[in-house]
């Protein structure tokens, strides 16, 4: 075949970012251990989705927040190489700072990328200026267009804040009141949501959800949506 016109070809980057609450309360009743287990356990599923969607270059990283916020995985890691270093807990809940840090990274994404997926996991209430952090995130074009999912761990989580993060009343924060439910939701985010974000399908503004161009699949049933004898958090 004759020389192909144009420069280098490349698959489209898809940034997947975990935003994890590591405040002191996450140490209660093994929440942080279960979160570590759930994310680590979902890695093979993420890798399977990546294999099935070779035209999406899935890159994973994570930010943790407690007293302040830090990148837990600071460089985007190709999903085939992704490993989950366990989080530890302690401190307060500076969620706004974490969102600001994510916004800084989203500024640097190229316009040809697929919509990023941001997953916020928290068991409590922000102790810093959450509104400012969210405003900074939403001031970024990629922040607005990101697929934003939130998971509330336990009954003390501030679902109002997690709903604001989603920014779309069609979708509610996922409520995980026990380890089994948390694992199920983390797996769903790592597979169904990732699969949906990997598609090159376009959406017109009136077909899209309020903020995101990626249709969020129906979450798995939570049989413990009210309360359950299995609930521990």
């Amino acid at each position: 075949m004759a020389k192909r016109p144009g420069g280098e070809l490349a698959t489209r980057p898809l940034h997947f970012i975990w935003i994890c609450d590591c405040s002191g309360s996450m140490s209660v009743d093994g929440k942080i251990q279960q979160l570590n287990y759930a994310i680590g356990n979902a890695i093979p599923d993420m890798q399977r989705v990546a294999d099935e969607n070779p035209n999406a270059d899935i890159l994973v990283r994570a930010v943790r927040f407690s007293s302040g916020a830090q990148w837990h995985i600071d460089q985007p890691v190709p999903v085939k190489d992704f490993k989950w270093p366990d989080l530890t807990s302690g401190g307060v809940t500076d969620m706004g700072k974490a969102l600001t840090m994510v916004a800084e990274q989203l500024k640097q994404l190229t316009e040809r990328g697929l919509p990023p997926v941001l997953v916020l996991v928290s068991d409590g209430q922000p102790t810093d200026n959450f509104e400012d952090g969210l405003k900074t995130l939403m001031s970024q074009p990629w922040g607005k267009k990101a697929v934003r999912i939130s998971i509330a761990i336990g009954e003390d989580a501030d679902t109002g804040v997690l709903q604001k993060f989603i920014g779309n009343t069609e979708f509610k924060p996922l409520q995980a009141n026990n380890a089994e439910t948390l694992v199920r939701y983390i797996k769903w985010v790592s597979t169904a949501v990732l699969q949906s974000a990997s598609s090159p399908a376009s959406q017109s503004p009136d077909a899209a959800s309020v903020n995101s161009n990626v249709p969020v699949p129906t979450p798995p049933d939570n049989n413990e949506s009210s309360s359950s004898v299995n609930d521990v958090w």
Binding site: N53, R112, K145, P200, Q203, S204, D206, A208
Partner: protein, 329 residues
């Protein structure tokens, strides 16, 4: 007062390939491409090239039909326009008249044809069942409220008369001009709103207001090439520079290797770009000024000529767009 006609004549060819991701999922090619004149040995002006990209999302479950309707209806609407007295007006009048009328006409004609398609092919329960399974009942409600969503598609149009070139765009995709010295220019600036797979669409309310246009009088420096492509092509390159390089490369190849070689290789090039790049369907229309490249020898294109003739007025219901096709005129 009209300007003196230029001596330029123009040829065109194009290809649409099914994307790698659609091959994996079993979804047909959602792109369509049409142009005029299409019969071998005929050249413009008038010349029309249209590329339409069906959204391919779960809600736009008939967007392959939507894009085909868009490409065919647009080609015919623009042909009628180019036959009218408007094109012999003063350039400023032409631009204003086209700006005012064409987007409305294109949207209206597309909607009429979609209405007809729906009346002859009502939505089926299983189409909504699949949509509900993927996106829930609210997604079904959105399509029921606005049935055009099911057919959603973009539109890229270039029309060339003796005196001017007019560029029109609704939604994502790219139009590039290549000058005689290989400089590559976008006649329409990129729409910053269109990131993260968002696109404006024929299916949206007041779609005609979302068209962007540009008008170039042909009196001075007519382009050597004009390329129209669906967004699957530019999304397959690592960056903007790598994509814009196609303009210069196409001109070099068509001047040094011949446009026939380009035409014969085009399908494989686009297929490779989708495989190693975006995975999306890719359509590319090439318009060339006949005096700057070596036109193809139409005597050697009997088979292709027959294919073109068979497809010229194919009914909208045909499935010929499911597979890659290429024609030359």
């Amino acid at each position: 007062m009209s300007e003196e006609p230029t001596a330029s004549t123009w040829g065109a060819f194009g290809v649409s390939v099914r994307g790698a991701s659609h091959q994996r999922s079993g979804l047909p090619n959602q792109d369509s491409i049409q142009w005029y004149p299409r019969r071998p040995g005929r050249y413009g002006p008038p010349l029309v090239m249209v590329v339409s990209d069906g959204h391919g999302s779960a809600k736009s479950f008939r967007s392959d039909v939507g894009s085909e309707i868009a490409a065919k209806r647009t080609r015919e609407t623009v042909r009628q326009l180019l036959k009218s007295e408007i094109v012999s007006s003063h350039p400023s009048i032409i631009k204003r008249l086209i700006d005012e009328r064409l987007p409305r006409d294109l949207v209206q004609n597309w909607r009429k044809a979609v209405d007809k398609h729906i009346s002859e092919n009502p939505f089926k329960d299983d189409e909504f069942a699949r949509l509900e399974k993927k996106e829930g009942i609210l997604a079904c409600k959105k399509v029921q409220e606005n049935p055009y969503l099911a057919y959603g598609a973009t539109l890229l149009v270039v029309l060339i008369s003796k005196n001017f070139i007019y560029f029109l765009q609704l939604g994502d995709g790219d139009i590039l001009i290549v000058t005689d010295n290989g400089e590559v220019i976008r006649p329409l600036p990129k729409d910053d709103r269109l990131i993260a797979n968002e696109t404006t669409s024929l299916s949206q309310r007041l779609a005609w207001q979302e068209f962007r246009s540009s008008f170039i009088p042909l009196a001075d420096f007519p382009p050597a090439l004009i390329l129209l492509s669906s967004d699957g092509y530019s999304n397959s390159f690592r960056d903007e520079e790598s994509f814009l390089k196609v303009g210069r490369d196409f001109l070099d190849l068509m001047q040094n290797e011949g446009s026939k070689m380009v035409w014969y290789n085009l399908h494989n090039w686009l297929h490779e770009a989708s495989q190693l790049g975006s995975g999306d369907d890719i359509s590319l229309g090439v318009i060339y000024r006949k005096d700057v490249v070596q036109p193809v020898d139409v005597n050697n294109l009997d088979a292709e000529s027959a294919e073109v003739d068979n497809c010229l007025d194919a009914p909208l219901e045909d499935n010929s767009n499911d597979n890659a096709r290429s024609y030359y005129a």
